[in-house]
């Protein structure tokens, strides 16, 4: 194809003997949106880095607009109009919106002096182009996640952009925000800008895509027009097997009440939250970003101190605003952001599990019974089938799914009564996801109360007995999950 904007042929990259990309090739045309799907570790990130010029391919041909490229670097790629929006957006929190938007453009032009007026004009023009209104002067650190992403998109558009690569564009966004994003993508495509979505959670962007490429273990395993793919087909290609969602085992009517929350209130975040959780029940809490769902989760675990309200576990009042007390009372919390909130990345896998139960292994003279603590941690790694050749290795060496199991193991070792899981499968590959769902079902079967906070609706429907819908800090609906369809639930969240 001569009108291809970007052509990849036989691109291969190995890292110290491990093949990350093996003979991958596809093309992207101007104004086209392409989905690049794959589980974590399938080679997606390597491909982004090669296109962005951060890494160089060992073999293969890369051509922009039909012109073969030599070794790329970030400046060359940017000059060719290839713009990457990284998952973390890579913005400067301390600088203003205007400066963030204009920075790459100014660097690209080789500007030596800083002209505030010019920067503001460029930023204002770019924001106008995608039709959003964000104050130019405020520091980016004060913005919401969705606004940060918009700023990152604007930065990519501020200079001549021909291909925008979006790394995991939807993981941080709620459905409504995803819709805003898709609108913007449609406009860009109309302007002739190509978009490459790179993600393992792509069903929601399929509607704006023309073309789908699926990677598995560094190889291209499927390619075709987008209308030939749906979520199930994508999943099958990404994992190489079928993953069917089954609804949870119904809760017996006799299940006793485990936790009782009444009148929980946090000024500006959530108001008058009351609900009960029964033993063996999996309760979903869903809502858009900013609906108060994460604040509620944190308040239950004491990370946020509510202004008023009570939490009772087995009839006993749990002190508010104190995670240590909450944990002692039998509440556990698996945070959303594993890497910054859940794990001690440089510490060993074993220590990451054992840290939850150190106080239980005191031996003589205040010293720790290390042997017992370690063998208990090993036991839990085995039970949750964490795949590792060396439990002494730093936990960062594990894949996302295994890392999530490490955090789960830490809490399960404490035999909690209630476990709160915030986004249990965020950033986890599809295969591990269903295994994590099985773990959740197993916990409920043991009589734990499980609270799943998620806006991944299929996940909510496969794991939960009941769903609380949150809006503007309040619980607006309490729905029996068995009786509702995904589209209906999506509608109730977003309406």
């Amino acid at each position: 194809m001569s009108d291809a904007l970007v052509t990849l042929e036989g691109v291969t990259k190995t890292y110290s003997g491990i093949t990350a990309l093996d003979n991958v090739g596809f093309t992207i045309a101007a104004g086209e949106a392409v989905c690049l799907a794959g589980e974590n570790g399938s080679g997606k990130s390597t491909l982004i880095k090669i296109l962005a010029g951060v890494e160089q391919a060992d073999r293969g041909r890369i051509a922009f607009a039909g012109v073969d490229q030599g070794p790329l670097n970030p400046r060359l790629s940017a000059a060719a109009g290839i713009k990457v929006i990284f998952q973390d957006f890579s913005l400067f929190p301390n600088l203003s919106v205007a400066e963030n938007i204009a920075f790459s453009a100014e660097i690209g032009e080789g500007a030596r002096l800083f002209h505030k007026r010019r920067v503001h004009d460029l930023a204002a023009r770019t924001l106008k182009r995608i039709g959003v209104d964000i104050p130019l002067g405020v520091a980016v650190e004060t913005l919401s996640v969705a606004h940060k992403q918009l700023v990152a998109i604007c930065r990519a558009l501020a200079t001549e952009a021909r291909l925008i690569i979006m790394d995991e564009p939807t993981t941080a966004l709620t459905e409504r925000e995803v819709r805003v994003l898709l609108d913007i993508i449609r406009r860009l495509k109309a302007d002739g800008v190509a978009v490459l979505f790179v993600s393992h959670k792509l069903a929601e962007v399929l509607e704006v895509c023309e073309h789908v490429v699926v990677l598995r273990n560094g190889q291209k395993v499927a390619e075709g027009p987008a209308h030939e793919f749906d979520a199930a087909i994508l999943t099958r290609h990404m994992t190489g097997r079928d993953v069917a969602g089954t609804p949870p085992v119904p809760l017996p009517a006799s299940a006793p009440v485990l936790m009782e929350v009444s009148g929980l209130n946090k000024e500006g975040a959530c108001s008058d939250i009351s609900f009960t959780l029964r033993a063996g029940e999996v309760l979903g809490v869903s809502g858009l970003l900013g609906s108060g769902r994460t604040t509620l989760a944190k308040a239950l675990f004491g990370l946020v101190k509510p202004d008023r309200g009570t939490i009772k576990l087995d009839g006993k009042i749990v002190p508010l605003g104190d995670p240590v007390a909450a944990a002692e009372a039998g509440i556990g919390y698996v945070p959303e952001d594993r890497l910054t909130e859940g794990l001690f990345l440089t510490q060993s896998i074993l220590q990451n599990v054992a840290i939850g139960r150190l106080d239980a292994h005191g031996a003589r003279a205040g010293l720790l019974d290390l042997g017992a603590a370690v063998s208990e941690a090993r036991d839990w790694l085995g039970r949750l089938s964490v795949k590792t050749s060396n439990p002494e290795a730093p936990v960062r060496s594990l894949s996302g799914g295994n890392q999530q199991r490490v955090v789960l193991a830490r809490w399960m070792a404490r035999s909690p009564r209630v476990l709160i899981l915030n986004g249990p499968s965020v950033g986890v590959d599809v295969g591990s996801k269903s295994e994590i769902h099985a773990i959740i079902a197993g916990l409920a079967a043991q009589g734990l109360g499980v609270i799943v906070i998620s806006d991944d609706l299929p996940e909510v429907l496969t794991t939960c007995h009941r769903v609380l819908v949150m809006k503007a800090g309040r619980i607006v609906e309490d729905i029996d999950a068995v009786s509702i369809s995904e589209t209906d639930l999506a509608h109730r969240l977003a309406s």
């Binding site: 970030p74 400046r75 890579s90 301390n94 600088l95 660097i107 030596r112 800083f114 500006g268």
Partner: protein, 328 residues
Amino acid sequence: MSIDWTRNETLVALVILAFCVLAALSDPGFLSLATLTDLLRGGIVLGIFAVAAMIVLISGGIDVSFTAVAAFTMYVTAMILNAALPGLPWWGALAMGMAIGACLGAFNGVLIAFFGLPTLIVTLGTMSIFRGVMLTFIGQKQITTLPPGMREFGRMMLVRGENADGSFYSLHGAFLITVLSVVVTWVILHRTMLGRQIFAIGGSEESARRIGINVRAVQFFIYIYVGALAGLAGIIHASMARVANPFDLVGLELSVIAAVVLGGARLAGGHGTLTGTILGVALIVLVRNSLIVLGIPSTWQSVAIGCLILLGTGLPAWQAKRAAARAA
């Protein structure tokens, strides 16, 4: 104009104001030209140091070696000029000081920018190295006869006068150099892309790298610039003191950093203003010079500065903590 009470600048300005009001109440003679010139004089060297320390803090680093750079530079410059170039005019001495300081700064720059070592550790190490080289191989005795250029510079006064009580007051010409350093630094930080890149690196080094900022080059520049400023401050210090004492200046670095932090620069990087830095220096100098006016014996000076540091960093930290608790 609305006043932002959460800013460090406001807080420090208020403390300075309160100090002056109290001092004026307890000693009417406090509000005099002599007090002002003393204050400005005390801020000449500290001010240049503070500007240097601020740039490093903005970029997300910390430098504790600048006092050692200054001491090394003033001593070596005085020695070289005495031995080889006694005819060099005062501006030549200053230029030479900046050049030597820049070379020492480049040494920090190589270790930080190209070897990627943590800034605190590098500058801690180079501080010992610069001092060690000077005292071991160059000399330990004070140079009491400065070269003519530096002597000439030492006599340059901007303002000179006599108080009502017959004592003299004066403001050294070097004050203009401090003002110039502030202005040049302001232009670099706010009117050049280089300056914006310094802020960007302080905000997020990884992001800076990703959008194609040459982080190494910027860091390298920062430490050279800081070295040059420190060298300049060293020559000014020796000229004003009319002696090059190799044991001077070192030990001041933490007070300087304290002044900058009082002024609102953050250790985490990305934040810092020259206004705040100047106010921070003013407060430290005021406490050093005039604590006695408030009836507090000068032996309590370091307690007072310590309390100011805790107050100046504690209030914003505490506010941030409360804001985080509210927002979460």
